[in-house]
Symmetry: C2
Subunit: 336 residues, 2 copies
């Protein structure tokens, strides 16, 4: 195993993918900081809109690792961490290098700009995966260079671009992902398939989705709630794709406060939404095929059941595999 620039960027990538689907409307971003002698000081990611950016999370961890000053651990707001670091950094970052999957932002939005912070701390070198797509946030590299910080672009660029792709889609249009849970032998029928951790992960994604798409048959048979109760989150609007428009309105999903439920035989309404999760099995897979950008598959390490995705042929590119306590979580793109 070679511990080169790609290795450190891959740590940042791995961490960032854990939060893919959870950072909307922000991009998933990961950051790794190493010392002069290449010891790892921090590997962090952006977890949720409103939370600190990946670079700020990583600078916080690295500061603690270098100083043992636990005061910084009490801070969770980005502005507070910025202020603290600017006051207390004592030039400890002068010899560090930062690997970030995305060019540091230069825009003062909800949080101050990462490029300004990194410049003020006098970091030695910044390795960048993808360039920023957001015209408001771009020019991070220019700010760094203007302050005498070395910048190296395009480190694992393709992989970083994959990570960033949903963000690009939100910016230009919308992002649609198809999520399904299966056993190792491909079956999707029968009782609960996924672990509690996987189901919490799905609820956390529902919390930041604005539309959830599901098939009429699933609604009739499973009578689901489709909320985000496992994470105390908000329930997204629901599109039920069904030719038959009549539903028993005592099915729980119809009685979630503040939610709009749309019944339609097509996906037209999706154009009014930005972050869209489709949940389903073989039928919905086929119906939605032309609208889907990414696929998210939860695999439970068991065999059993009878029925799954069949009579369909597709090839995927695996973008990331993560094993949580029990299940495998896999992001993919369909090869076209």
């Amino acid at each position: 195993m070679v511990t080169d620039n790609n290795f450190f960027m891959s740590l940042a990538l791995k961490e960032a993918w854990k939060y893919q689907g959870l950072t909307y409307p922000n991009p998933a971003v990961g950051c790794c900081i190493i010392s002069e002698d290449a010891s790892i000081l921090a590997v962090e990611a952006h977890k949720k809109a409103g939370n600190p950016h990946a670079e700020v999370e990583a600078l916080k961890s690295a500061y603690y690792k270098l100083t043992n000053d636990s005061k910084i651990l009490e801070l969770s707001k980005s502005a507070d961490i910025h202020t603290f670091l600017l006051k207390n950094h004592n030039d400890i970052f002068k010899t560090t290098s930062i690997y970030t999957t995305l060019e540091p932002c230069s825009h003062r939005g909800k949080t101050p700009s990462c490029a300004d912070l990194i410049s003020s701390l006098g970091v030695k070198k910044v390795f960048v995966g993808s360039r920023d797509l957001n015209p408001e946030a771009a020019c991070g590299n220019d700010k760094l260079l203007a302050c005498g910080i070395e910048v190296q672009n395009d480190v694992l660029k393709d992989k970083c671009d994959n990570l960033l792709e949903p963000y690009g889609m939100w910016k230009s249009n919308n992002f649609v992902f198809f999520k399904w849970a299966q056993r190792l032998n491909g079956t999707t029928d029968g009782g609960t398939i996924s672990s509690k951790d996987s189901r919490k992960n799905v609820h956390a994604m529902r919390d930041v989705c604005d539309l959830l798409v599901i098939g009429g048959n699933t609604v009739r048979v499973d009578r689901p709630t489709l909320d985000a109760r496992l994470v105390d989150g908000k329930a997204p609007d629901v599109l039920i794709v069904s030719r038959e428009k009549e539903f028993d309105k005592t099915i729980p999903l119809f009685n979630v406060e503040g939610r709009k439920v749309i019944v339609s035989d097509n996906f037209e309404v999706c154009k009014n939404y930005k972050n869209i999760m489709i949940e389903g099995g073989a039928n919905m897979y086929e119906l939605s095929r032309e609208y889907v950008d990414f696929y998210l598959c939860y695999i439970a390490p068991k065999i059993g059941g009878d029925d799954g995705l069949k009579k369909i042929e597709d090839n995927f590119e695996i973008l990331n595999i993560e094993k949580e306590t029990q299940d495998i979580i896999m992001w993919m793109k369909r090869e076209v």
Copy 2:
């Protein structure tokens, strides 16, 4: 992400699992070396019996990383690397720490003892996952301690014990693993499923297996060769599990030189072999269930096909997931 002792041991583990099934009759072992300030100097594994042990591979890489002396890169024999390091180490390892999934050997066998080498180089601290099961090789820790090297045992012990389990089985009896290849949707029928890299990996395993088990129906339908031609390896003996004893002897597997082919309706003959791979689908899965120690599943990231492992219910513990260029390679144990 926390970069603690567990992190460095997990790098060693990850590297070692790449060679699980290939190191027979030696254990799969991984090793990570870090500097005083915790920068990663090497992550290596034992690749094949006769090749250097993981510690020697890692010390070689670390030496090169610390000195830039490329002379060591020309050496591949363990004895040569030992001799070179003992002569040229110049105390550069005095401040390094070693993470090894298995207690360093103390036995001078095909290669000199790793414990002796580490002691002579004056490494600062050794972190050990599993203790050695082999009475001839054990006492590595004692040698290290006697030379004033700090030793910390049981780092990710359970995971290291999982990695070591096939070796324990070879020592006491034999190791039987069931290998299958499937698409993401669980199907095992139709044309070639796995990538070329996966198939090469399987051939490399056949090369070190002494028995390959396969079902009679598969032999009749697929007319396989079951050799290790993709890696220029040797072909193992074959057990065809079949009630019907007559086979068309022009099927290629019957005509591989130096191979014994046994046809039987049971698995009795397995007791005469040490390292046994069963290849098959649903039928063989059920037939062999009580004999199997580990499961090895290759998942191609595509959907298609019709038929797979069905009418069976089992839960697995995932021991390792590795993504090669295209497919997923997964080692598992069945939960009992």
